[in-house]
């Protein structure tokens, strides 16, 4: 310690710089071409294949009341668009779905925290909460209609019952999977109590929470469609579920297909636009997303 000879120490700095450079690999962003070939082309090919099979199958079935032609479905879309109804159908359902999801978020998050952190609450309602996830939310439609009547609150109730357990359970498993090492590291830095929850537990639990949100959205959308199909009522405004139910009553197979495709695409679109980017961002920023 008393020695003034510092050669080895100075030397280690440059060795270190070399080691750092050797051990860190440069990663670049994918080029536009790579994105095009890797991400965008495959689904387009898949859709084209489906359309080809459909076109080939149409003359074989030869019964437009069972299988409409792609052209008929296309003109059903066109008609709805020209009448200005298409966006209305979508908006009615999407606004319900997202609003219901936001309510589910506001209820599911504190509920999940309570279950994760309070032993008594976990023992009391933990098993029920995970059991509820396997109950098809369409089962809630009849009681919701009886309790609340045929109105929007009934729809929201069904969405909540479908999505809240997913969101809460996602948060619980996220919190359960927080490595104890992080908690100990936080405690030695003085992050205890509420500061520990805020600075360590919650951010560490984020991947599980986001997975729960993603699943919660899928459940919200499914429950909403079930509710709209079963409890269609003209005064509520026509959403995608009602559109499907109306098409069935009118025996208009092209419109049935139109409604089913819309339900599918909206569900996928919300996932692709909101939840998948959110999930990828969370995972990538932690180095948990392995690029293939």
């Amino acid at each position: 310690m008393a020695s003034t000879e510092t050669t080895p120490v100075q030397d280690s700095g440059s060795v270190e710089a070399g080691l750092d450079a050797l051990e860190t690999s440069a990663t670049g962003r994918p080029t536009l071409r790579q994105t095009l070939v890797g991400k965008i082309l495959p689904p387009i090919v898949a859709i084209a294949v489906v359309l080809v099979i459909w076109t080939l199958l149409y003359p074989v079935v030869d019964d437009p009341t069972k299988l409409p032609s792609p052209g008929a479905v296309g003109s059903a879309f066109k008609d709805a668009w020209l009448k200005g109804d298409l966006l209305g159908y979508i908006w009615t359902s999407v606004s319900r779905g997202l609003l219901g999801f936001v309510f589910a978020l506001l209820i599911g998050t504190p509920l999940g925290l309570l279950v994760a952190r309070v032993k008594f609450v976990r023992a009391a309602i933990g098993p029920i909460l995970s059991g509820l996830q396997s109950l098809p939310s369409v089962a809630w439609v009849p009681p919701a209609v009886i309790w609340l009547g045929l109105n929007n609150s009934m729809m929201y109730a069904v969405i909540l019952l479908g999505a809240v357990p997913s969101i809460a359970n996602g948060l619980v498993s996220g919190v359960d999977q927080v490595p104890p090492l992080f908690l100990r590291a936080g405690r030695t830095m003085g992050a205890t109590g509420i500061r520990g929850v805020w600075h360590v537990t919650l951010p560490a639990a984020l991947p599980g929470y986001v997975a729960g949100l993603k699943q919660g959205w899928a459940f919200s959308w499914r429950s909403l469609m079930a509710a709209e199909i079963i409890a269609s009522f003209p005064d509520l405004g026509v959403g995608l579920g009602q559109l499907l139910e109306n098409a069935r009553t009118a025996s208009d197979m092209a419109m049935v297909f139109e409604a089913i495709l819309l339900i599918l695409f909206v569900g996928i679109a919300i996932d692709l636009l909101i939840f998948s980017p959110l999930e990828r961002w969370v995972l990538r920023s932690r180095g948990l997303l392995v690029k293939s």
Partner: protein
């Protein structure tokens, strides 16, 4: 038996960074109470570098946890000069924050004002020679860089005592040698006291002013050496090798006793 953990008050003049007074620790196991640490008394002087050496499972991590206040002793008392900083074998950096923000979190929890944090974090990164790593995510750093960032975060707590639990044991030998140099330099620059745990005899001798050997089951202080070799040392230096040999022989003797039942 007193079982207290005290933090020395600011106005007292303390002549130790940590004082362990007849500390024992036992855990409840299915086969009854298991005594892991038995009657350990250690004083770490301010600015002193002490290594705790012992075989795997002898209770080194348990002891550090006690000093860090993460667990309480079964008997005896532990006093430290302020809250110690603790560095683990795994870097324990938070993956949702950048290297710089990890350090800033430690500063924030210590109560450093927001506008001062960035500059402080940058200078700590510079101290561990990680200039330019401020915005890097943990997974973008190499093993050695992660441990240095973790060291910077521990230093951000500005504790008088730095506890290190085998922080370099997962690194390759080349990186480890370099980090030994760095740790020695930083210890000399900052004047922090270090209690460093390892099962690597040469590492213990390379770094410490004092080496304490723990026996196993239960962990007791077996022997203690004062290392007079001047810093900076290298792990290959003849005096380091010589003392390591002597300590290894004693350590082997301790381990051998367990095979003679």
């Amino acid at each position: 038996m007193a079982t207290t953990t005290t933090l020395a008050k600011a106005d007292e003049t303390v002549e130790y960074a940590a004082r362990l007074d007849h500390v024992s620790k036992s855990f409840a196991t299915p086969r009854g109470q298991q005594l892991v640490l038995d009657d350990i008394s250690i004083d770490v002087a301010p600015g002193e570098f002490v290594t705790l050496l012992g075989a795997s499972g002898c209770g080194k991590s348990t002891l550090l946890n006690l000093v860090a206040g993460l667990d309480r002793p079964t008997a005896g008392s532990i006093a430290t000069d302020g809250r110690p900083a603790l560095m683990f074998q795994e870097h324990a950096l938070f993956p949702w924050l950048t290297a710089g923000k990890n350090i800033e979190l430690a500063l924030k929890l210590r109560g450093v004002a927001k506008q001062d944090r960035r500059a402080k974090a940058e200078s700590l990164l510079e101290l561990v020679r990680l200039k330019g790593a401020y915005g890097k995510r943990v997974h973008e750093l190499s093993g050695g860089m992660r441990q240095r960032a973790a060291l910077a975060r521990a230093l951000a707590q500005e504790s008088n005592l730095l506890l290190m639990d085998e922080p370099f044991s997962a690194l390759d030998a080349i990186t480890r040698d370099v980090l030994h140099d760095e740790l020695t330099r930083i210890w000399q620059e900052t004047g922090v006291s270090v209690l460093f745990v390892t099962h690597n005899v040469r590492e213990a001798v390379r770094l410490a002013q004092r080496v304490i050997l723990l026996s196993s089951r239960p962990g007791r202080i077996a022997r203690e050496w004062t290392v007079g070799i001047p810093q900076p040392r290298r792990i290959e230096d003849a005096p380091v090798a010589e003392l390591s040999l002597e300590i290894t022989d004693v350590l082997r003797g301790e381990i051998r006793r367990h095979g003679q039942h």
